[in-house]
Symmetry: C2
């Protein structure tokens, strides 16, 4: 994939530097470069990405739009265990206690949905309630919880109808870092 003298990168400014990009500054440049290579080699009509890596979906949609790739991006929904934990190859690294406490992530996203459904429009108030829930768990250490525009990933202070709204979080349970997110309906 990387011929001798390799030196080309496909990079998206702005949305690659926030959220996951903060702790992994070159990660999304790697994603967009390899995705470009794979699109050129396979020339797909459709490409499927998972909503769990929502920032990856946003970044890939951005290169498709900006660089006029002739491919349709389809985002597949998050698949969850029966107790709500988003499926991930990392879940096997959780100790039994961490595994049990990690269910708080989905619970906190559901709590956010409930708050928004009942009219809360102040992003900070929603994030604070989520933080309070998660911090009750002994093994949890929050990396970030943010409410952002689902297209631009710009942080939202106030939620409003018509702006695609995404709640996104990263939390460590012991040594295992988990991510989760949910799109919100704002009426």
């Amino acid at each position: 994939m990387y011929p001798d003298g390799y030196s080309t990168f496909v990079a998206v400014e702005g949305i690659s530097s926030v959220l996951e990009g903060k702790s992994r500054p070159t990660h999304f440049r790697g994603v967009t470069t390899i995705v470009t290579q794979l699109f050129h080699l396979t020339k797909p009509h459709r490409a499927f990405f998972g909503q769990k890596d929502v920032q990856q979906c946003v970044v890939v949609k951005r290169i498709v739009k900006d660089l006029h790739f002739d491919v349709e991006i389809i985002v597949a929904p998050i698949v969850r265990e029966t107790d709500g934990l988003a499926m991930s190859s990392r879940n096997v690294y959780l100790s039994p206690q961490e595994r049990s406490e990690a269910t708080v992530l989905h619970a906190a996203l559901c709590r956010a949905e409930l708050l928004i459904g009942s009219g809360e429009r102040n992003a900070a108030a929603i994030v604070t309630e989520m933080k309070n829930m998660i911090e009750l768990k002994k093994s949890a250490a929050i990396d970030y919880i943010e409410i952002v525009n689902a297209d631009s990933l710009a942080v939202l202070d106030r939620l409003q109808k018509g702006i695609p709204t995404l709640v996104v979080l990263a939390v460590r349970f012991g040594a295992t870092r988990l991510i989760d997110n949910a799109l919100m309906r704002v009426q």
Copy 2:
């Protein structure tokens, strides 16, 4: 070409920063980005670029190789006026004296070819002879003259058989900046 929220760039490290890239730090990033867009929109089997903008040719070949574009790059030779001056839309800006003096660029490239043909392998010696010729012209101000590997654009100290060798230069005549280059046979 550039949708709302545009933020994607295709960039080549290293070879975009030397020669022309020194005075125009974002120029080749612009070239490689628009070429990517045009390749995606038109899906060509072959794309033609001119040898006169040799660094552009090298950079475009690099993205095609690195990103696995399914397109053949064909480099068309430099077309010259009868007195040797490389054709360029900029030539009309030259005063009669500058136009006359600008023929020294091709003469200097021919001199380099002659030196190499007669066995000179020291790049600095060749560049010095070219500089001396060009500096005799009253309106000329040299930006750069370099002997580089034609694929990597790495500066060569000694010429040797088997290394694709390019002599490349940029010189101002009054307010008009001209570029020219020639591939060299090193036996």
